[in-house]
Symmetry: C2
Subunit: 429 residues, 2 copies
């Protein structure tokens, strides 16, 4: 009931996904005396697109901003699991990109750039791939245009998967444990922006008036706050566009298909020699870059593909997976590269949406009109989630620099708009 929340807050965070949770937690942690309210439209935290994520992560990026955000977040998640002893279900299965020689050579200059960072990876030879995974090494001869041979692999160690529900639970419980308030099942209809000095003009505030975001409207009532944080994922557009604020993202549907690891696939699931888990790493095919994520707990594989051209830009409330997308899109390619998937049995599927930054593929965090916006997850929201929350908290507290977990200093304006300073990522999926 909204009436339970009708006091005035220092901060209202809109959106109970990963960006909203980390933002709310870090704001409250840095400002224990502030009243912080997290509002989520669904009945619980992390039920929107956060829940649809594949839950994979890697501390391996060419772009420095990407790397800083992901590495510090992953270090923090590791800390949560290993030091705080809160099990996030992290498994260090690694990422394995499969390439042909041409693709690999085009990436070598970037690997060289990254040398000073001493990021652990190893080159996997043709022979090793053949021996351990036994894929079709000659997909270029399949008759399907655009497929490439598998000739070399790049195995990244500091990478893996985690249980997103656990991560949500962690931030939610921590936030509540330090006095943060959550309100679920409550939809924000609009953000209230008012003239600081109301003059009674019809249609005010006008552009020459000083304004302030004063609260949010829910169920016809106003909940007041000193500061509003919008972390509503693809739905942020609906709150911000009416205020003239861009979100710098475009919504695209993303689907996950789960197949049973039986027979040949069971053997593939327990591929040894790449990680301590004794399973296939999170594996990315040469082209199209279909990914394969092993799930040894459930004896499944998750497969997906981030299609771009012809995948409509559209915000959906309840996106549905398309079986045909698996059957005619993913499966023919997957089983051409990996014949083990030929008879794979589809057992589950779901769809979510990415808020894609179509310019540079990285998140955007900024303040406009007194509203802090954290948006454009671009498909890597989970693995950068903790850093985003700390950046939001820094903006909330008026700081231009933030110390990410592990001590690295990050200039918050680097992922803002005015002084944005990010490079396009070279290692994409």
């Amino acid at each position: 009931m909204v009436k339970d929340f009708m006091e005035k807050y220092d901060a209202i965070v809109i959106g109970g996904g990963i960006f909203g949770l980390t933002s709310a937690y870090h704001i409250k942690r840095e400002n224990p005396e502030h009243k912080v309210l997290l509002l989520e439209e669904r009945g619980a935290a992390g039920q929107g697109n956060t829940a649809k994520s594949a839950g994979c992560f890697r501390a391996f990026f060419h772009s420095k901003t990407n790397l800083k955000m992901a590495n510090s977040s992953i270090e923090f998640y590791k800390h949560i699991q290993e030091v705080e002893k809160f099990n996030l279900g992290i498994r260090w299965i690694g990422y394995l990109w499969l390439f042909d020689e041409e693709q690999f050579h085009s990436l070598e200059p970037y690997l060289k750039d990254m040398e000073p960072l001493r990021i652990e990876y190893r080159i996997v030879s043709n022979e090793e791939i053949k021996e351990k995974i036994n894929p079709n090494m000659k997909a270029s001869e399949s008759g399907i245009s655009g497929l490439r041979n598998i000739e070399i692999g790049l195995l990244v160690k500091k990478a893996g998967k985690m249980d997103v529900e656990k991560l949500v639970e962690y931030y939610e419980s921590k936030f509540k444990s330090i006095g943060g308030k959550v309100a679920y099942g409550i939809k924000v209809n609009r953000i209230i922006v008012e003239a600081e000095e109301k003059l009674g003009l019809p249609g005010e505030p006008y552009f020459w008036q000083k304004t302030k975001a004063t609260g949010v409207e829910v169920e016809g009532k106003i909940i007041e706050a000193e500061k509003i944080v919008v972390a509503a994922g693809v739905w942020a557009d609906r709150l911000l566009h009416p205020l003239g604020i861009d979100t710098y993202q475009r919504a695209k549907k993303r689907q996950v298909f789960v197949v049973k690891a039986e027979g040949e696939l069971e053997k593939l699931l327990y591929t040894r020699g790449f990680n301590a888990e004794g399973c296939l790493p999170f594996t990315i095919l040469p082209q199209p870059r279909i990914y394969i994520k092993p799930d040894i707990d459930e004896r499944n594989f998750w497969v997906g593909y981030a299609d771009d051209f012809l995948r409509p830009i559209a915000i959906e409330d309840d996106p549905q997976p398309e079986e045909n997308f698996y059957r005619y899109g993913i499966h023919p390619i997957l089983s051409t590269y990996m014949p083990q998937f030929e008879q794979a049995k589809l057992v589950n599927s779901w769809a979510g949406q990415y808020g894609i930054n179509t310019y540079d593929g990285q998140p955007v965090v900024f303040q406009e009109g007194g509203i802090i916006v954290a948006t454009a997850d671009s498909g890597s929201g989970i693995m950068k989630g903790d850093a985003i929350g700390r950046i939001v908290a820094a903006i909330y507290n008026g700081r231009r620099e933030v110390e990410l977990f592990g001590g690295e200093i990050f200039n918050v304006e680097d992922i803002g708009i005015e002084k944005r300073k990010v490079e396009r990522e070279k290692f994409i999926i």
Copy 2:
């Protein structure tokens, strides 16, 4: 009638605004043997947001891409009027920015950067402004927060206004005179993208299939073309988002208000000493940057303001001007800076939309999936129109470089997405 256009074209250009017209013309000019069809939803060319433009131009930008595009286009318009003797109604009234000292000092480094370009401008002293224009020099003392004193002016010579209808007429007639075909009153419902090799799969093409844009659907019929150019302004989103292609623009309403130049305003209209026309230049107030455009033919002033925060991002089919926006938004500020406007009589108004590139404020031209897109006019479509058309024609012909009018070479990828290379403009309105 659509049936009059049911042949196969080499190129279909969607949108009869300035970008569509210049694109169609330059494609046809460079490829006289190609069949080029221009499709426009309205009953004539230039009736969408092109018609709503203030029709002003300046060859004065700090950003090199902005400057190249505007300068070459203006040179071409000058050529049309002076050499081809087609009257575009160009009047070199100049642009006059009014600043306080602080604003001006913050721009001085950029003026210094621009010195090697030898762009003609002059500093207008406090005394000269006072004597010639007689504004309220002390708006900062008005009690309205944010207003600044007028202390110095920057007068740009190669700048002015033109008759947009004439410009539209020029490109349309030239395009038709070399065999280009136009179809008005015909709405494109969608762009057809098909698999090059159809396999009969339900829902094809899939991401692994080679595809081709093969035509457009109008009134339930398909008009085929080898190449599609989308230059549909803010409405481009409706054609491109379903194909997963971004337009890199956000639509915002922009309004023009026309007031009669009577009494004190008539004197202001005929301000001498700034240009050969003997009228006030196109003038921009210090802050908020309301603009004033003199119209000596009609004895009017056009005034407007590009409001950003709180102006909704929304595509509209028939945007309407808001009298309150003039009355309570523009007028109080305008008449504080320029008391001559106190009793100004509003005689006309209209509204259009800009397709704003919210990242860097400049147009975007690129090719994706075989579709050429020219979009994100960002409010300077008229003054860059000719360059955009030549850039589109270069992409159409597979060239990476284009010679703009006057001989300057422009790298088309500079205003694309992948290798975009533009700087944010410092001299904005």
